[in-house]
């Protein structure tokens, strides 16, 4: 007869410093990884800056610095949306398909590190785009901006990317792999148009003006205008709406990610 005794060895504890290190390492890896990928970085940085240079500065020589100031906010929001939607949504959709997400789930990556890493990457990419736009506005279009205004604009970009990360994440959990970029574009481009990022809202048909508050980008545009000293309405309702969108999309997406994987 054989008796099997089972003894268990206690696990090594994870020191808090190492845990924090793991989160930072994940964020660093995500940033390095995407910033080395021209296929991601070039469209994300070039589209908003080229559009701003062309439509906001070169073609608006007559109307002067005030138009360039107004369009800085519009193209700023246009530039905020894509790191969130593409950097988060498309990459999540791809990694659900190619098995990286499965590997991360099997490895002892700390909870949420994968998503937080992507978030950090999107914030950094958005901040980079904002800095490029500010350089064009101040350096080329001679828009007068104070240091505080520039910092607030940068902050708008880095925090404003979060609701779009959440939206991208939701799309990334619904669509798998190669289908994601198409779906993201179907959201990104019409939403940019409908929230007055390409043409002022007042020039759009009144129906479209009335439904504009549905789009999160409309609210971020109001905030962006405020940071450059042009918004009329108070900031807090827009902040609340964006926070609600961000939390709502995130909860829906994480529920789906948990259930479907």
């Amino acid at each position: 007869m054989s008796v099997i005794t089972i003894h268990r060895v206690p696990p090594l504890p994870m020191p808090p410093r190492r845990l924090l290190g793991a989160y930072l390492m994940e964020a660093r890896s995500e940033c390095l990884r995407y910033f080395r990928m021209p296929g991601f970085l070039l469209p994300v940085t070039l589209f908003p800056t080229m559009f701003y240079l062309l439509f906001g500065i070169v073609m608006n020589r007559q109307s002067g610095a005030e138009t360039a100031r107004y369009l800085l906010a519009s193209y700023g929001v246009f530039g905020v949306m894509s790191p969130g939607l593409f950097g988060f949504g498309v990459s999540l959709a791809m990694e659900r398909e190619n098995g990286l997400l499965t590997l991360k789930r099997a490895l002892p990556a700390p909870p949420g590190a994968y998503l937080l890493g992507k978030m950090a990457m999107a914030m950094l990419a958005s901040g980079t785009v904002m800095a490029l736009l500010l350089a064009l506005a101040v350096g080329v279009a001679h828009v007068q901006l104070g240091v505080l205004q520039m910092l607030l604009f940068l902050l708008m970009g880095m925090l404003g990317v979060l609701p779009f990360c959440a939206l991208g994440m939701l799309v990334g959990t619904l669509v798998k792999g190669q289908g994601a970029p198409g779906v993201i574009n179907i959201i990104y481009l019409p939403m940019s148009f409908l929230s007055g990022l390409w043409m002022p809202l007042s020039t759009l048909p009144s129906v479209l003006q009335q439904i504009a508050p549905i789009w999160p980008s409309t609210h971020l545009r109001e905030l962006a205008l405020k940071t450059v000293g042009m918004g009329q309405s108070p900031a807090w309702p827009h902040l609340l709406v964006l926070a609600a969108y961000g939390v709502g999309f995130f909860l829906l997406a994480s529920r789906r990610l948990h259930r479907v994987g």
Partner: protein
Amino acid sequence: MIQSVAVVASLSGAVKRYGALKALDGLDLMLHRGELLALLGPNGAGKSTAISLLLGLARADAGKVELFGRDPQDIEARRRIGVMLQSSFLPPTLTVGELLRLTASYYPASRSIDESADMAGVADLLSRRYAALSGGQQRRVQFALALCGRPELLFLDEPTVGMDIEARQKLWAAIRRLTAEGCAIVLTTHYLEEAEALAQRVVVLGKGRVLSEGSVDALRSHVATTRIRCISDLDVAALSQWSDISLAERDGTHILLHSDAPEKVLRRLLDADPALSELEVRRAGLAEVFTELTRESGIEKEAA
């Protein structure tokens, strides 16, 4: 006799269904400290499902799954394992060193980057981007990532696919070194010689259940037949009448015999044909055992 066994992971009565398909049908499996267990079975036998349950990637519909006495989805438990999945995608723009540093950061007491890279034979690749590596090199990097956390239990799913012979031999040496350190390893492989070379215990799965379990030698004894091959003019029809020969075939100039008592057959054979040449005697390998076992289970199913 009292045996002291440290169980690092176990499945007991695990059932997993995917729709109408029962991938695991009450599977019992125990993994012991420092032991290399080879998990074999034809496609669809439930190997991947068993591993998914142990890694916490999927939940069992019934039965109990434990990893270090905990729920596999518990991160404390997963901090003690290393993983090399069958199809792994890793960020192509990161360097091997960066991938190692990231993965090592997940563990409480990881190996140094250099030690991990040395063990997996990728020390010369640390500054290279993952995308620039060959398939075999990528596989070795994945092995380095699996062992960098100093795991007590390592899951290796088809680790040597796409590797050349030399790389495979090096990986085998590293695997032996890990088990010598007390690391338990679960290996799934299609290369039976790999299981034969490395495994202390082999579990053959079929249709979500354990078909057979034991050491490689114990499994071999399932198929006692030894194969004898040689060049001879002897008549195979006459040979097949000999008492200890279960099968006799002619293959051109060669004859092939199956026997349960090869020593007796050989003595008679050499007497009967002094001109006999190119004699080969081979015990049944794991490949034959495997074919036999999975064939038996097919018959059982038809009989049921």
